[in-house]
Symmetry: C2
């Protein structure tokens, strides 16, 4: 029986097949995400993987349904597997924001789903690190959020040589649109053209822009000016004070596809341009109001970072550590009459926090030793008798004999 197309099985390393994914790498990534967020004072939350379809259509319009993993449940409700976390978060914040001091700084690592027509190797789910700030309008919040994004990527060993944050602003583009006489109601169409500029032939972009009475040359001139708005300059100054100036540049080609962004927006890219965006985000000051039906109004901003592109990048830059079970001790049981005492030793070592294994049944000594090697155990431990245990460091080959109650002290990691 096969798994569904577009879904992943996560196995322990070493991986048995090229079509499966590493559970160890996934946990490694989750751990770095969580640690970075916590250092920045972000608190963890989560919501349901399923939500009423309406939660997503309210925000992004009906056209999103084509990409949603949606269905009718047995109670005849229109349901969708969450394609992104922000609507759920906005719903949760709107419901209980009064109980939290501002700014609210929250993070999550949800699995997200989409159902597009299947292309080879195209996934229908991924995990995404989401970090958001609510209740602060000042650009200092944007800087804090982008600093977290930078530090998260740095915690994997990536440097300013590896990635850059392309910083832009919906406000700048709004001003551009208004100053050049754009028609109210056509902003979003205009933004969509800008969003696709890099992936569209110039003639086609020109044609679309002309229809809205804009010129590609003028758009390109604005982009090439690269002049930061006051707001963006303030974000950059803030990041520079933190020693992060090298990680960020103004790039008005970035505008973000989603309708709900309102202020500064940004995307993280590998410097070599080999991969899709590593992360992206920005301000969405009106979304909480929209989701709450006007009841709650809170400025907000956030970013998302998927696990798939990040993993590709870490592999390409050779930044993934070797994963094994981190076995501290393999207990050898060569004298079966000492099995009960050996089980006690296993238990004591584990209770002290060590990772410990042993052969469950009678096994030849050389096979036990081989198993210890396969598991990359840092030590073996073998009872000489009731009272003494022989501990061998598998790296240095040094051996010590210790009292059974003293074994742990000889096997510090």
């Amino acid at each position: 029986m096969e798994r569904l197309p577009g879904f992943r099985d996560f196995y322990p390393e070493p991986l048995p097949h090229k079509d499966v994914w590493s559970a160890d790498a996934r946990q490694y990534i989750f751990g770095k995400w969580r640690d970075a967020a916590r250092r920045y004072g972000f608190r963890e939350y989560d919501g349901p993987p399923l939500e009423p379809l309406e939660l997503f259509t309210t925000k992004s319009g009906e056209e999103i349904v084509g990409q949603l993993y949606n269905f009718k449940d047995k109670g005849d409700r229109e349901i969708a597997l969450r394609p992104e976390m922000t609507p759920t978060l906005a719903r949760m914040v709107a419901a209980h924001e009064r109980n939290y001091k501002k700014p609210i700084k929250w993070f999550a690592m949800p699995q997200l789903f989409r159902y597009e027509r299947q292309q080879k190797g195209r996934l229908r789910e991924h995990f995404q690190f989401n970090a958001d700030i609510f209740g602060e309008q000042d650009a200092s919040a944007d800087a804090e959020l982008i600093a977290l994004l930078i530090d998260t990527l740095r915690s994997f060993g990536l440097t300013a040589e590896d990635f850059v944050i392309r910083l832009s602003s919906r406000n700048a583009w709004n001003d551009y649109f208004t100053n050049r006489g754009g028609k109210a109601g056509q902003e979003y169409d205009f933004f969509q053209i800008i969003d696709k500029l890099e992936r569209t032939p110039p003639e086609e972009s020109q044609k679309k822009l002309t229809a809205l009475r804009f010129s590609l040359d003028d758009v390109n001139a604005f982009i090439n000016s690269g002049m930061p708005t006051t707001e963006l300059a303030s974000i950059i100054a803030n990041l520079t004070a933190r020693g992060m100036g090298d990680f960020v540049k103004v790039d008005y080609k970035v505008i973000r596809g989603l309708a709900y962004y309102t202020g500064p927006v940004f995307e993280a890219f590998d410097r070599k341009g080999e991969f899709r965006a590593i992360a992206g985000g920005g301000r969405y000051d009106n979304l909480v109001k929209l989701i709450s039906g006007g009841k709650v109004n809170l400025p907000a901003l956030g970013f998302g970072m998927g696990d798939v592109v990040l993993l590709e990048l870490l592999k390409a830059r050779n930044l993934l550590p070797q994963f094994d079970g981190g076995m501290d001790v393999f207990v050898l049981i060569e004298d079966e009459t000492l099995r009960p005492q050996s089980l006690k030793l296993v238990q004591d070592l584990r209770s002290s926090g060590l990772v410990v294994d042993y052969t469950l049944t009678t096994t030849k000594p050389e096979k036990q030793f081989k198993r210890a090697q396969e598991l990359k155990a840092a030590h073996t431990a073998k009872l000489d008798n009731d009272a003494y245990v022989r501990i061998r460091n598998m790296n240095t080959r040094e051996e010590v004999v210790a009292g059974v109650n003293d074994a742990t002290n000889h096997i510090r990691r």
Copy 2:
């Protein structure tokens, strides 16, 4: 907009409302589960939350569909949100077991789903710690698995006063069934009656047993005998050698509802009997063969432990720690001209691994200090000037002045 009935929102503590769940408690539980499994040499895996419906009906028969969260996807496939992890695990192991040395010891912490008619407060999802061993027929594997279950619960502070493992055996009940002349093909009906014995009026059980030509008195006599089989005696001896004898007792009233169990089975209960089972599991030596269509045959055993009953029990026994953000330092910025240097300090402290926060915008000193207290910050840090920082221990009220590059050393956790 509301979340779907039976689903949970997880918020950071302190919780804003009685209808939401603690994301902190959830992470605390996940952390303990993962640590215990790793100490025992179990490796992490995961599979898709969605599987073909067939994967679950193959194993448990069509009747399970009534409780499944199943639907048709846009590709007209029959899909189900996983109600348990074992079928996915059996599928994954069958696909690639040849690449792993035996015994395979794996764990996962999946979210599981069911769709029963809605009752007040009844959840349609929960998280479950799953640990399984493949490739070892000997009862020593059952002992190893049960030891993990016991140690997992102990790691939360629960003792032999709090919980007990009720140990039983499908083999013992099979023998009973055969020796009393039970008819081939009726075993599972018989097991179902035993499974429900504690929740069913005696007259009703008697009636059902009579239909299969068994007697309730004789069944009760067998249960009350409590005589361990050789296999169960060996498991108990093994656990006793580890110092875990007090945590386990033979109890033939336990038989487990699912059809696929084949050997020893067990459930963990709170001693006071206030809650539903905390965990349950057993041997399922035929399942891999069934799922793989006969291609792979591996003895197997495992248990599952849900987050909901465990959380209730930990609350009732007052074993949950206080959750806060673990704030190490709150940086006070009283002189706005020092904001850039203060941001650098924030950055340096975070880079050293500390959890650090500060006010994003100009804020009155007393409000900053209040915020530090609200966040339960262990220290405050305030720049006197470019070079020196004043660090205050919020517990002892002690204050030291340190060089900015030396600040971290004064704020060890």
